[in-house]
C-alpha cells in the first residue's frame, strides 16, 4: 500500500499526460475532421470519394492497429517517431475519421430549404455553409461529438501499449511494483471514470435538449 502512496504524484503526472494527449488528438482530429466533413459534402465527386474511403478505412480498423501502423510500421520504412508523437498522429487520424462522419451527418441533417433560402438571398455556397448552415449543424452534432470525445479519452489508454507514459502505462508499472493489481487498476479506472463521466452526462443532457426543441 505504501508503494502506491509513494507513486501517487507520478500517477498524477501521468493523468495529466493522458489529458494532454486527449486534448492534442481532439484538437488536431477536430481540424482534420472538419476538412473530412467538408470534403464529404463537396460537389466534386473525387473529394467525396477520397473522404469516404478515409472514413471507411479508419472506422474499419482497430485503433490499436492504427497505433501500430504509425509507430512500428513507419519505423520499418525508416522514420522513427517518439511514442507520444506516434500516438498523437494515429489517434488524431482516428478522431478525424469519426468526427468527420458525425459532422457530415449533421450538415446533411440541416434541411435543404435552408440552403435554398440562403441561395435566394444571393449567398454563395461556401458563404452559406460557413455563416448559415454550420451554426445549425454544430447544434445538431453536439451530443454525438461529446459522446465520441468520451470514446477518444478511453482510446488514449492504448498509447500505453506503444510505451507512452500516460495513466494506464503508469498503472501497469505501479501494479507490478506494488503487487496490488486490484487496488491500482481500480484507482486507474476511477480516474478515467472521473474524467469521462462528466462528458457522458453532458452528452445525454445535450441529446435531451435536442428533443425538446422539436
Amino acid at each position: 500500500m505504501d508503494v502506491i502512496i509513494t507513486y501517487l504524484p507520478s500517477l498524477a503526472v501521468s493523468a495529466a499526460n493522458t489529458l494532454l494527449l486527449f486534448l492534442a488528438c481532439a484538437g488536431v482530429g477536430a481540424v482534420l475532421g472538419l476538412v473530412v466533413a467538408i470534403m464529404r459534402t463537396a460537389r466534386l465527386t473525387i473529394l467525396r470519394e477520397i473522404s469516404r474511403l478515409f472514413i471507411f478505412v479508419i472506422q474499419g480498423t482497430p485503433a490499436l492497429l492504427l497505433l501500430f501502423i504509425v509507430h512500428y510500421g513507419i519505423a520499418t520504412l525508416g522514420i522513427r517517431l517518439p511514442p507520444a508523437l506516434s500516438a498523437t498522429v494515429a489517434l488524431s487520424l482516428y478522431a478525424a475519421g469519426f468526427l468527420g462522419e458525425i459532422w457530415r451527418g449533421a450538415i446533411e441533417a440541416v434541411p435543404r430549404t435552408q440552403w435554398e433560402a440562403a441561395r435566394s438571398l444571393g449567398f454563395a455556397r461556401t458563404q452559406a455553409l460557413l455563416l448559415l448552415i454550420a451554426p445549425q449543424a454544430i447544434w445538431i452534432a453536439l451530443p454525438a461529438t461529446v459522446g465520441f470525445l468520451v470514446s477518444l479519452m478511453k482510446v488514449t489508454s492504448l498509447a500505453a501499449i506503444i510505451g507512452v507514459v500516460e495513466l494506464t502505462k503508469s498503472g501497469m508499472v505501479i501494479a507490478n511494483l506494488s503487487f496490488e493489481p486490484m487496488i491500482v487498476y481500480g484507482l486507474i479506472a476511477a480516474t478515467y471514470f472521473a474524467m469521462c463521466w462528466p462528458m457522458s452526462v453532458l452528452s445525454r443532457h445535450l441529446e435531451k435538449g435536442q428533443h425538446a426543441t422539436r
Partner: protein
C-alpha cells in the same frame, strides 16, 4: 417593357414535362397570381423565375438580367428578386432582425448605416419592429412568415416571388399575412404569387394566371376571370359546374 418576361419556358423532371413552353409577362407594379392545382407546375414556374431551378429551354429575363436554358443562375441574379417560401425558411439561429439583414451585410456588403436603416424599415413595413430581437422559435407562424417577407423586402428587389406563402399557416394567421401583402401591392411592389387559394388570389392580385398541366390556360384581370371562366379546366378548379 414588362419587368419580367418569360419566353417559351420548358422544364422536365426526368421524363415528366412540368412546364410546357410557357410564356408570360409581368408589368412593373402589377401583382400577378398564378392559380392551379397541385402538380400544375405553378411552383416550378416561380422557382424558375427565381433562379432556383435550371430549365431545359426558353428564357427568363428580369429587368436587365437574363436566365438561359441549362444555366444555373449567377449570384448577381438574386439582387433582383426576393423569394418568400411556403415554410418561411428563416434561419433558426438568428434573430428576426439578423435574418432580415444578414444578406445585406454579408453578400451585398453594405455599410452599417444602410443595413440598420433598411432592416428597420423592412420590419416596420410588416409590423414587427418590436420583435426585432426575437428568435424564430418564439414567433407564431404568421409572424415568421412576415419576417420572411421583410427579409425579402430588405433586399429592395425588383420583384417579390411568393410561393404558397399562406398554405402552411393556420387559418387565423393567414389574415395578417394577406394584410401585409395587400399593403405592399398598394405601395406599388411588383409581385408574383403562387397559390391554390382562390380567395387569396382575388384579394391581392390584379392579374390572375391559371395553369393546368404545365400550360397557361387562361389569364386576365382578377375579378373577371374568376367570375367568368372561359375554359372547362378553370371552371372545374373554381368548382363551378359548366354545362
Amino acid at each position: 417593357m414588362p419587368l419580367v418576361s418569360v419566353r417559351h419556358l420548358s422544364k422536365s423532371y426526368g421524363s415528366s414535362l412540368v412546364l410546357d413552353s410557357l410564356s408570360l409577362d409581368i408589368e412593373k407594379s402589377s401583382v400577378v397570381a398564378v392559380l392551379g392545382r397541385s402538380g400544375s407546375g405553378k411552383s416550378t414556374l416561380l422557382r424558375c423565375v427565381g433562379g432556383l431551378e435550371v430549365f431545359q429551354s426558353g428564357q427568363v429575363s428580369c429587368d436587365t438580367q437574363e436566365l438561359k436554358a441549362h444555366q444555373a443562375a449567377d449570384k448577381s441574379y438574386f439582387r433582383n428578386i426576393g423569394v418568400v417560401f411556403q415554410h418561411f425558411n428563416l434561419f433558426p439561429h438568428l434573430t428576426a432582425l439578423s435574418n432580415v439583414t444578414i444578406a445585406l451585410r454579408k453578400v451585398q456588403k453594405l455599410s452599417k448605416q444602410v443595413v440598420d436603416e433598411r432592416g428597420r424599415r423592412a420590419l416596420e413595413t410588416v409590423g414587427l419592429w418590436d420583435k426585432a430581437h426575437a428568435y424564430p422559435a418564439r414567433l407564431s407562424g404568421g409572424q415568421q412568415q412576415r419576417v420572411a417577407i421583410a427579409r425579402a423586402l430588405a433586399l429592395e428587389p425588383k420583384i417579390l416571388l411568393l410561393d404558397e406563402v399562406t398554405s402552411a399557416l393556420d387559418p387565423e394567421l393567414v389574415e395578417e399575412v394577406i394584410g401585409v401583402l395587400r399593403s405592399l401591392a398598394e405601395r406599388g411592389h411588383t409581385m408574383l404569387l403562387v397559390t391554390h387559394d382562390i380567395r387569396f388570389a382575388q384579394t391581392v392580385a390584379d392579374q390572375i394566371v391559371f395553369m393546368h398541366q404545365g400550360k397557361i390556360h387562361e389569364q386576365g384581370p382578377a375579378r373577371e376571370i374568376i367570375r367568368q371562366p372561359r375554359t372547362d379546366e378553370l371552371a372545374q378548379f373554381l368548382g363551378i359546374k359548366q354545362n
